[in-house]
């Protein structure tokens, strides 16, 4: 296993943690549940969204940094193969991932501030920012997973 593969695994693990945190938070803010909830889905939605903010910001930055480090290897070893195979859609969804993730970085300060404000203020902004970041994280996770599968692990 080379260094890039190790970093790719670490990138994936951080992405899983980020996915869990942002999904919990998005569910809590978009579909709030009455507390205490009895069902599994109720408890999933019933978490305190504010407690996830710092974790989401840190995990987003760490995951993006790890992705940025291995991006050069992707450009040389993976994208070239995808282009040779004429898989234009796969290339396109990865290009979107690249841009969505970059735009997500720009949202982190306002997302962090919005969650620090008292609950009555900026409620809609907080909810939409969380939903938007959740979309970016889900898109990036799924696309990264699919594109990685095209090239093949460790190949």
């Amino acid at each position: 296993m080379n260094g890039t593969t190790a970093l790719l695994i670490l990138h994936g693990l951080c992405a899983v943690a980020l996915l869990g945190a942002i999904t919990h938070q998005a569910a809590s803010v978009l579909l709030p549940a009455r507390k205490p909830a009895a069902s599994f889905t109720g408890r999933f939605r019933g978490v305190s969204g504010g407690s996830y903010v710092d974790a989401v910001v840190v995990l987003y930055i760490v995951t993006a940094l790890l992705g940025a480090i291995i991006y050069g290897e992707y450009r040389i070893s993976v994208r070239t193969v995808i282009e040779q195979l004429e898989m234009r859609s796969a290339n396109g969804v990865f290009e979107l991932k690249e841009h969505f993730a970059a735009i997500g970085v720009g949202l982190l300060p306002v997302y962090w501030y919005a969650w620090r404000e008292p609950l009555g203020t900026h409620g809609r902004t907080r909810a939409v920012l969380t939903a938007l970041l959740a979309f970016v994280v889900w898109w990036s996770f799924l696309v990264g997973h699919v594109v990685n599968n095209i090239r093949g692990f460790g190949s």
Binding site: Y71, G72, R75, I76, V105
Partner: protein, 105 residues
């Protein structure tokens, strides 16, 4: 909060413009692991501008955010927080449109 709102709006717009016009602060050459200042053509392989676009956008957004901190409190209160997500969502939709060629033949 005003720094963050202005940062988010300017960053999204600046990133879109940087990608479209290729205003990269620096270029990475992954085949040889070298960096270059500004926009450069590929050396012994492809050139990567993504890092440079993000750096350019961060610089522009930071300057705009710092300028917003100089606004009087009354003007700062009128900054709509919702503009942050509107700008980001609009930029994402713009990229979907700009990259449609990958999906349409």
């Amino acid at each position: 909060m005003r720094f963050a709102i202005v940062f988010a709006v300017v960053y999204a717009i600046a990133y879109l413009v940087c990608v479209e016009r290729n205003y990269a602060l620096f270029t990475y050459h992954p085949a040889i692991g070298e960096w270059g200042v500004g926009v450069e053509k590929g050396r012994d392989g492809p050139a990567m501008y993504w890092y440079g676009w993000m750096a350019s956008s961060t610089l522009a957004a930071s300057l705009a955010g710092a300028a917003a901190m100089l606004l009087p409190q009354s003007a700062a209160r009128r900054l709509p927080a919702g503009a942050s997500w509107v700008a980001a969502a609009a930029a994402m939709l713009a990229f979907c449109y700009l990259l449609r060629g990958f999906f349409l033949r």
